[in-house]
């Protein structure tokens, strides 16, 4: 219990830090974002829009502590302001309409990559020097060396443009109404395959190597020798004895990746024009939509922290040593 409370305290501090960062960045950076935006929209902004933006970005003349208190109050009450590029939609609404796609894409890719990667790692460590162990790691390291967006664009070009197997952009075809019809779900699935596969391709190597290296250490434990001496089936030793005890670091990385799913799919979403929060973040940056930008960053951070907290709770369940402390 103390462990959980400590962790909770830590995540609250981390969240506070990111809010403060968000607050300070526009205030201490050279140049005035409001006039930049005003110049860009060529004076087409409403006076009240301008006023709201001033307030959000701290270009008003109140003392900074008052602004800070105001800002914290707004965040805590879920008031993240109004999007500029989609005026007058509130930022929270814009985010809510997009986070589902990100979770779908990132979640699918993460689960596949973690399952496949860990299985490969287990097999590679179990048969040291076997086919999987000697051929796959260098290959995966090599693939992992390519810039992710480059691979994704290459895949889009090959499978989308040349072969025409995959749709080129967006999460579903244009004329389609989102809903729980078979037509829509299969269409969304078809749009999901290629982006998800590219993520799996580059991230599976990390999972595999991590699992392999931990499991090599586990394999030399005495209880493995003992299990062998008892004459247990190799499959049982491999999964129930060795892999089970080598899983813990993987669980930690799963937690971290789970959080990073929300922000991590940014490049994927940009390349495939997938309508998630990452794609929206880049659009917000390019359109100088500061309220949306800040809202997105906070949402992404909150998701990362939440995922990690959940894994911590899971950890207490999995690792008795944490409980005894």
């Amino acid at each position: 219990m103390r462990f959980i409370l400590r962790r909770l305290g830590f995540y609250l501090i981390a969240f506070w830090a990111s809010i403060t960062l968000n607050f300070l960045l526009p205030r201490f950076m050279p140049g005035d974002p409001v006039s930049r935006m005003f110049a860009r929209t060529q004076g087409k902004m409403q006076p009240e829009q301008l006023e709201a933006l001033r307030k959000l970005l701290g270009v008003d003349d109140r003392p900074i502590w008052e602004q800070y208190a105001d800002y914290l109050h707004n965040i805590v009450t879920g008031n993240m302001g109004v999007s500029i590029s989609r005026f007058p939609t509130p930022v929270t609404e814009v985010i809510a309409s997009q986070i589902g796609w990100t979770l779908l894409l990132g979640g699918t890719a993460l689960v596949i990559a973690a399952v496949v990667g860990n299985l490969l790692g287990i097999l590679a460590a179990w048969r040291r020097g076997g086919a999987i162990d000697s051929a796959l790691p260098p290959l995966l390291i090599f693939i992992g060396s390519f810039p992710y967006f480059w691979l994704a664009m290459g895949a889009l070009y090959l499978f989308g443009v040349i072969l025409g197997w995959s749709p080129l952009r967006h999460a579903f075809s244009d004329g389609l109404e989102p809903g729980f019809s078979w037509e829509f779900i299969s269409d969304a699935g078809a749009h999901l395959v290629l982006p998800a596969l590219t993520i799996v391709l580059v991230s599976v190597g990390g999972w595999m190597l991590g699992m392999r290296n931990t499991m090599i250490a586990t394999n030399s434990e005495d209880y493995i020798t003992m299990a062998e001496a008892k004459g247990l089936r190799p499959g049982r030793i491999m999964f129930r004895y060795a892999a089970r005890n080598a899983m813990l670091p993987s669980v930690t990385s799963f937690g971290m990746s789970l959080g990073f799913v929300v922000g991590g799919a940014l490049l994927t979403e940009v390349v495939f024009a997938y309508p998630g929060v990452g794609y929206q973040l880049l659009n917000a940056v390019q359109g100088l939509d500061y309220p949306l930008m800040q809202g997105l960053f906070l949402t992404i951070t909150a998701a990362v922290l939440l995922a990690n907290f959940l894994v911590d709770i899971l950890y207490v369940r999995l690792d008795p040593r944490v409980r005894s402390n």
Partner: protein, 337 residues
């Protein structure tokens, strides 16, 4: 993005506990025996005879040479328009021309300068910060350790790519900004790895002896502890350089770098912007990406080799049962603390 660009967090860490434990005790026993020989040469010699390390180093050297010789090989501004637009590779333009009519070969060779410079600078800067934080954490302990670990963990948790994007959006564009932003987002991982390693060395007897004999804190940290974790520092450095090169390319690809410089990331940004792939000009798009991949691959090979040379458990020969095995999952637990 972390999943894509940053080196996998578990790989360097899992090996973390064992290397120093083993060499330290091994060298002690050797000194007691008849051959008082050089434990320091182990790493260098091991790397020189390691195929992976040699292949990696050769690829890297070729690129460094290209970067240094770029003004000689392709004099003049590489982004000037030299010929017709979108020409296929030919004898005159080995890699064809872009949609603007620039020579792709010149762009690629010149691009290596900025990419390697930023990658190496970011790598060294974040490793340096990581060493400072990690050593201070481990040496002073108590309150300082708590505070530094808190900051490190907060930075580790803040989502890297979105933070990069936000920072790059607010800071004035330029090469310096890219370096600063990448260092801010990149140091925390190395600090954590180096701290856990330094902690295990901090508890060794020779450090206690140094403390008792009244050596200054700085000397103990940099002359006693640091040399004993050279291999981890090297692994971290390589990982940070890979991260720097990849993240710079990603940032520039998103159009958030300094668009006026010639670098691999910017080449790809322009290729995407000019629709190189949609018009089928693959030659504009392939070379820069391949170069990033080759450099990152060569660094990863060297990293892999360092791991192999210093971590007896990962060597090819099936090891005899080690006398004392540090349970691998302890690293995972310390990470969760």
């Amino acid at each position: 993005m972390t999943t894509f660009i940053e080196p996998s967090p578990s790989a360097p860490e899992t090996g973390g506990e064992s290397p120093t434990a083993a060499p330290a005790s091994a060298s002690e026993s050797r000194l007691a025996g008849k051959s008082p020989h050089k434990p320091k040469q182990g790493l260098v010699h091991g790397l020189l005879t390691n195929t992976k390390a040699m292949v990696g180093a050769s690829i890297l050297l070729v690129f460094i040479a290209l970067a240094l010789l770029a003004p000689v090989l392709f004099p003049g501004d590489p982004s000037r328009i030299t010929d017709m637009a979108s020409l296929e590779p030919s004898a005159e333009h080995w890699l064809g021309t872009t949609a603007k009519g620039q020579d792709v070969m010149a762009l690629t060779v010149h691009g290596s300068r900025s990419s390697l410079l930023v990658g190496l600078t970011v790598g060294f800067a974040s490793t340096f910060v990581g060493i400072l934080v990690g050593l201070a954490s481990a040496y002073f302990g108590k309150f300082i350790d708590e505070a530094l670990s808190l900051v490190t963990n907060v930075f580790l948790l803040l989502p890297g790519l979105p933070l990069l994007v936000i920072l790059a959006a607010f800071l004035p564009p330029g090469l310096g900004t890219v370096i600063v932003v990448l260092t801010i987002t990149g140091w925390a991982g190395s600090a954590r790895v180096l701290r856990s390693q330094a902690l295990s060395i901090r508890s060794k007897d020779f450090v206690a002896a140094a403390v008792v004999s009244g050596e200054r804190a700085g000397r103990i940290m940099f002359r006693e502890i640091l040399p004993n974790m050279a291999s981890i520092v090297m692994g971290t450095l390589l990982g940070c350089v890979i991260y720097g090169i990849g993240a710079q390319a990603g940032l520039e690809f998103l159009g958030l770098g300094d668009v006026s410089t010639v670098s691999w990331g910017n080449n790809l940004f322009w290729a995407g912007n000019e629709g190189a792939l949609l018009t089928g000009s693959w030659w504009v798009f392939v070379p820069s990406g391949l170069c990033i991949a080759l450099v990152a691959f060569s660094l990863a090979l060297i990293n892999y080799a360092v791991d192999e040379v210093t971590n007896p458990r990962l060597r090819k020969i099936k090891p005899a049962k080690p006398a004392a095995v540090v349970v691998g999952s302890t690293t995972g637990r310390s990470a969760a603390k």
